[in-house]
């Protein structure tokens, strides 16, 4: 790393990237020309009302009209005193993303680093590693992180992308309502209600990297009960490594699911949904062993499968009082050479929201979650005891107080949690929002958040390296009871500006003070006889003797330049270079210097064109700064999607991703993970039919 360039890595690394970009300006020109020649050859189909004012049509004609919804319902967002970014279905469709992690690249404050074909490392506001622990992800209210590792297995989490209603990306501690693990952010994936997905949808996509297919059908079961069911399959071809040699990380997965939404005679709403999935992944592991050559490279086929079932009941007592109860069961098993990990979780959550009077809006509730896991150690990982059973109780309450109605709102709340693995935690928060005038909103918040430990933090042993010496020597990392909850106090301020319907700006600045972070402390070496041969162990123990702070700025803007041309932009700045020892610790964080595995600057820009009545072109660019501690250089990703409505219900699209370079790296092989590979340039064509 050249220290002279360190001050402005963001700019200098890009000069080379822009040279290659010129070739692609040509490509863009031809594409746009091609798109316009298509649009000039079109004539509006008979009865097409796109050219006719909807107000000229009768009721029957209006009912059959397909509509586009591009707004983010800003009137709802403006009510929130938090850093929220909403990804709409329109954003998902037009980005050309073929998986949920790829959709998240457009959100400010979120780091998405694809480590290899089937592994995405995603975090918010720093701390990105294979098992990013400080980001809570929910799918329709179900927590989707592995309770064993506190990280998200993104290859297990998927759904029919066209049936996602929206994804709410909330940065900062959502602790009061969502609970432990929402330390740096919450990603809330919300699928459409079954009443919005009547009818069929089928798609097929083929390309140089991925082949995808899926079908969904929805209908009405009774007077006010709707359902849908889907099946999908993805197959992805292997990536290559830095030398250009083919890697072994090809993978495929299948998924099926259903969702039912209905209303009972008394007006209560209910939802029942579930999924089943199965995936097979190729992986290459480099494992430390105790005999020469001390490193064993294995190509493995991992398998994972699982399913979940979730039910929700909602009662609206009045416009000022609503309650909901949610129950779910979730289970999964993953087997590979590193370990066999299985878990079963049962969760119950209750919530009641009511207006105590004109000024007080109160939400309160509680929940219980119980998990049983079984970790059968493999070559490098062991957890003792092998099976664990643990639970979390929580209770929360929040009061939104209208200090000055419509203008000044104070929200006070707290979550109380008792986890059998770590004890009781209290997570209070206070938020203030000032709306001096309809188009401006200023807010600030202070909150405490906690990440509760997993069994991996407390009871695991992981062998990370081996080398020769007087005795074969092994470096092992041990979980200990001292590795309890990590704690954060976060301060944020934000400003929302929406002068007209066609422009909006959302800016947030934060300062996170970490009171306790997981650290590794070196212990006294000891000799071990099992497994043979006799070897020396250099132990590292997990503890919490690390503290420090991070700070940053996140800005998102949307501009509707004309009725057919829109811009979306997001900028993220993160400063995470201050971590220090506390309580006499060694000052060594676990994993890549925390700040060093996150980029200081990220920028996203997407331009959406509606060309004629049938064609859409989206072009987006993302620049990600270098990851200093793991020597991943900065990169620019250039992507586009061209969509064409061949018939009323048939949409064809062409998606190009990472077009600037043949391949680029986004992360390195993390401890105990399969080898990282490089992300290639890819292209696929898709046909989507509605029936």
């Amino acid at each position: 790393m050249d220290t002279l360039n360190r001050r402005e890595p963001f700019v200098s690394d890009y000069r080379e990237q822009f040279m290659q970009f010129r070739d692609f300006r040509q490509l863009l020109g031809w594409l746009a020309l091609g798109a316009c020649s298509v649009c000039s050859a079109q004539t509006p189909s008979a009865g097409a009302s796109a050219g006719v004012e909807p107000t000229e049509l009768g009721l029957e004609a209006l009912l059959g009209l397909e509509v586009t919804s591009v707004g983010k319902k800003p009137q709802r967002l403006a009510d929130t005193a938090a850093a929220v970014f909403v990804i709409t279905q329109d954003d998902i469709r037009r980005s050309g993303a073929s998986s949920i992690p790829e959709v998240l690249r457009m959100a400010p404050g979120i780091e998405v680093a694809r480590m290899n074909n089937s592994t995405w490392n995603i975090s918010a506001r720093g701390f990105n590693t294979r098992w990013s622990t400080k980001l809570l992800v929910l799918m329709d209210g179900r927590t989707i992180y592995s309770p064993v590792s506190s990280g998200v297995n993104w290859q297990e989490q998927d759904t029919m992308l066209p049936d996602i209603e929206r994804i709410e990306v909330i940065r900062g501690p959502g602790a009061t309502l969502y609970g432990a693990n929402a330390v740096n952010g919450v990603i809330n994936i919300i699928t459409k209600s079954a009443r919005s997905t009547e009818g069929g949808l089928a798609y097929v996509a083929a390309g140089n990297q991925e082949n995808l297919a899926g079908v969904r059908y929805g209908g009405k079961l009774g007077d006010d009960v709707y359902y849908r069911a889907y099946v999908k399959h993805d197959a992805r071809g292997a990536f290559r490594d830095a030398t250009g040699a083919a890697a072994q990380d090809d993978w495929g997965r299948s998924r099926a699911g259903f969702r039912t939404d209905g209303k009972l005679a008394n007006g209560d709403g209910f939802t029942l949904q579930g999924d089943l999935f199965q995936s097979r992944l190729g992986e290459t592991y480099d494992m430390p062993i105790l005999t020469p050559p001390f490193l064993l490279t294995l190509n493995d086929r991992a398998q994972s499968s699982g399913g979940n079932l979730l039910g929700r009941w909602q009662r609206t007592f009045s416009s000022t009082s609503e309650a909901s109860l949610q129950l779910y069961y979730d289970q999964s098993v993953t087997s590979d050479i590193a370990a066999d990990v299985g878990y079963k979780t049962v969760d119950a959550d209750f919530q009641h929201r009511f207006a105590a009077n004109d000024r007080h809006d109160i939400v309160w509730g509680g929940g219980y979650r119980r998990t049983r896991d079984d970790v059968t150690g493999g070559l490098t990982l062991a957890v003792l005891p092998q099976q664990g059973s643990y639970s979390i109780y929580n209770f929360f309450v929040q009061d939104e107080i209208a200090l000055i109605p419509e203008r000044l709102r104070l929200t006070l709340g707290s979550k109380f949690e008792h986890a059998s693995l770590s004890g009781t935690d209290i997570q209070p928060s206070a938020r203030l929002q000032w709306t001096p005038h309809a188009g401006h909103s200023l807010w600030g918040s202070v909150a405490k958040a906690v990440r509760t430990p997993s069994r991996l933090d407390l009871e695991a042993r992981y062998n990370s390296a081996a080398f020769p010496g007087r005795l074969p020597t092994q470096i092992s990392v041990f979980g200990t009871p001292a590795a309890g909850s990590e704690e954060l106090v976060a301060q944020e301020i934000g400003y929302r500006f929406q002068p007209t319907q066609s422009f909006s700006l959302d800016a947030t600045a934060f300062y996170n003070r970490y009171l306790k972070l997981r650290s590794t402390e070196t212990g006294a070496p000891f000799v071990e006889a099992q497994p043979a041969p006799v070897h020396l162990v250099l132990p590292q123990y997990f503890d919490r003797k690390l503290g420090g702070h991070t700070a940053g700025v996140e800005i998102a803007a949307e501009w509707h330049t004309t009725a057919w041309w829109r811009w979306h932009a997001a900028y993220t700045y993160l400063r995470a270079d201050d971590l220090h020892a506390i309580d006499g610790g060694s000052g060594v964080p676990y994993k890549f210097g925390y700040g060093g595995s996150s980029p200081s600057n990220q920028f996203y820009l997407r331009s959406s064109f509606d060309i004629g009545e049938r064609t859409e072109l989206d072009v987006w660019v993302k620049t990600v700064g270098q990851l200093t501690a793991i020597e991943i250089p900065a990169y620019i990703s250039f992507n586009l999607r061209l969509g064409w409505k061949a018939r009323k219900n048939l949409e064809l699209s062409l998606v190009g991703q990472n077009l600037l370079e043949q391949r680029h790296a986004e992360f390195v092989t993390d401890d105990g993970t399969p080898r990282a590979t490089q992300i290639p340039r890819s292209l696929f064509a898709q046909a989507l039919l509605r029936f």
């Binding site: 746009a32 798109a35 004012e53 107000t55 009721l59 009912l63 586009t68 709802r76 060309i611």
Partner: protein
């Protein structure tokens, strides 16, 4: 270079419309059509105008203002915007924005028994005192109706409207 010029020309052509009509342009069309299927009680329309009001944050982006001046039952339509604290009983149609969810009680009190057609799109609107609720689906905009609430305000829905609604609450 030639390609760049072609691109510039292509992009400057004023040909383009949005893909399909905007959600709120279509909802504005619905609001204009609903009065044809609703019967107001005799003497309920005292003024010279037909008032279409919006309470709360306006999501229509100007689509509603295109209706200004159009005739409804011989009366010119006038679009007006209010907050939950205003006297809403003088409206003939009141569109309740999602932002007013927690002020529904206040809005219903302001209307009392006056024959105001309450239209909205918030979750459970027809069970919170609303009369017509828009539901956005993959196949376009549909609507639910609550006959009971309408009846309580002296409004009568035609049989054709009940046929076109995706769900009918009350009555039977």
């Amino acid at each position: 270079m030639r390609q760049a010029v072609a691109l510039a020309i292509a992009l400057s052509l004023p040909t383009a419309y949005a893909q399909a009509p905007q959600e709120y342009a279509v909802k504005a069309g619905f609001l204009y059509n609903f009065p044809k299927f609703v019967e107001w009680p005799a003497g309920a329309l005292p003024g010279a105008n037909f008032a279409l009001c919006v309470v709360g944050a306006d999501p229509f982006e100007g689509a509603l203002d295109k209706l200004n001046g159009k005739l409804v039952g011989g009366r010119p339509l006038v679009v007006q915007r209010y907050s939950a604290a205003d006297a809403l009983g003088r409206c003939q149609i009141l569109f309740v924005s999602d932002s007013e969810r927690r002020r529904m009680g206040q809005i219903l009190a302001a209307i009392g028994n006056s024959p105001v057609l309450l239209v909205g799109e918030m979750e459970n609107f027809t069970r919170l005192g609303g009369m017509i609720q828009f539901v956005t689906t993959d196949k376009g905009i549909q609507f639910e109706v609550n006959i009971e609430t309408a009846r309580q305000h002296g409004l009568k829905f035609s049989a054709r409207l009940l046929q076109l609604a995706s769900t009918v609450i009350g009555g039977k």
